[in-house]
């Protein structure tokens, strides 16, 4: 297509500038969109890392009385939000009970925060898959206050608290034995965990 004569030469620089601008503008847009491919749009960082553990007190499962997270100061805490209706929770449960067993003597306590669930199915779940030792505590969170305090987006979600009561890490989704181990080892060694 040849340029019609009507196009006066003085128009041209302007035209080319706008074409370059169009190409760059659209290119930038395409770049931004492409950077989002393969990223889960729901994934979020927790802003709680570096903050002290929330001072909440909740009833324990099966009437063992109330327990405040701040009472566990000095222990390294693994705070795991879970529910019996959640499939990945089933998958990660053995890793958690194993960690409770293996790290018991090193001052690690695992807190199972029961998220939107009833004692009935919870106990059935624990009877089936095992409960962990005396350093595995289960807290009822009947109106999700605990979940709100921790900014929980869904289950399972696991927070790590060091001996000073500071939240140092968070895993979204099911934890694996390996990740749990390496994180706990780092925290016990006084390092900041790298996830």
């Amino acid at each position: 297509m040849t340029e019609p004569e009507a196009a006066t030469p003085r128009k041209r620089p302007w035209m080319w500038v706008s074409i370059v601008a169009i190409v760059f503008g659209v290119g930038a847009m395409v770049l931004v969109f492409s950077s989002r491919f393969g990223v889960d749009p729901r994934l979020v960082d927790s802003p709680l890392i570096g903050e002290p553990v929330p001072a909440i007190e909740l009833e324990q499962l099966n009437g063992q009385g109330p327990l405040a997270l701040t009472d566990l100061q000095g222990e390294v805490l693994v705070i795991n939000f879970w529910a019996s209706w959640c499939f990945p929770c089933r998958g990660e449960h053995p890793a958690l009970t194993a960690a409770a067993r293996d790290y018991r003597d090193q001052g690690v306590t695992i807190v199972g925060m029961i998220y939107q669930d009833q004692p009935g199915p919870v106990n059935a779940f624990l009877d089936e898959l095992g409960r962990g030792g005396d350093n595995y505590r289960y807290l009822l969170d009947p109106n999700s206050r605990g979940a709100v305090e921790f900014g929980v987006f869904g289950v399972p979600e696991t927070y790590f608290v060091n001996a000073d009561g500071i939240i140092v890490g968070k895993i979204q989704g099911g934890v694996t034995a390996g990740a749990l181990r390496s994180t706990l080892d780092q925290i016990l060694a006084g390092e900041l965990p790298t996830l």
């Binding site: 499939f87 998958g91 053995p94 089936e128 034995a177 390996g178 990740a179």
Partner: protein, 271 residues
Amino acid sequence: MSGSKRLPAALEERRRIALRDLEELAEQVLNGELDEETAGRLRAGYEAELAAVDEAAAAEPVSAATKTETGAETAAEPAEGRSSNRIVVGALALVGVLTVVILFAAQVFRSDPEPSPQTPTDVASIDGSSAEEMEAIVAAHPESAAMRLALADRYFEEGDYASAIDHYLQVTNLELTLDEESRTLGRIGWMAYSTGQVESAVQFINNSLEINPDYYEGKLFLGMVSLYGLEDPAAALPLLEEVNALPGLGDQLRVEVEAALADARAGVESP
């Protein structure tokens, strides 16, 4: 494309609008929408525009020529469709070739990123059908091994071992392919392990691997049971290594296998 043909059309449009402006203006004045003064000013403008258009049209010699040009082309009847014959034939040939190329290219591209069909995650692609629905089908066709097995697999993969175990046990009485049988036995074994019955778990899984020695999930199970159940990392290590070397493991599974592998290695080094 030269500007000569376009100009008359543009002029035509301007003339049309100017004429219409004048017509509507009169109407508006009649309806009392415009006062005479504004209308007069506008009318002068539209009339000037009309005059300018006429002048430009008169100064444009091609406007008549366009007509003849068009006429000439129409008259040249044999020329009609000259290009399109070539286009149609060429295009069809090109499309034919392209289709074949694309088809095979697509096939090649596709096979890469997809996990191999043997991985258990793949069966979960029957997402969406409800378990109740499948239960109903299974109840209606108690002799259908495939259906029951799919349901059992599904429960198993959801972690609903309580529901899975019944179907797996029942399915062992039906006719199964070797692959299916070994998977069934292996998974029964794994569920046995998860309820703490380590010995019978090992027995089931060994049976399963006897039937199908290439059943990698069984090796994974055996590895895990050896490592955590029998606490025998030395036995677990080769099995886990073998599983870990497989391509096409799901991401999640890969992480778990690697963790177990690390545990096994640690166990071997410091018994």
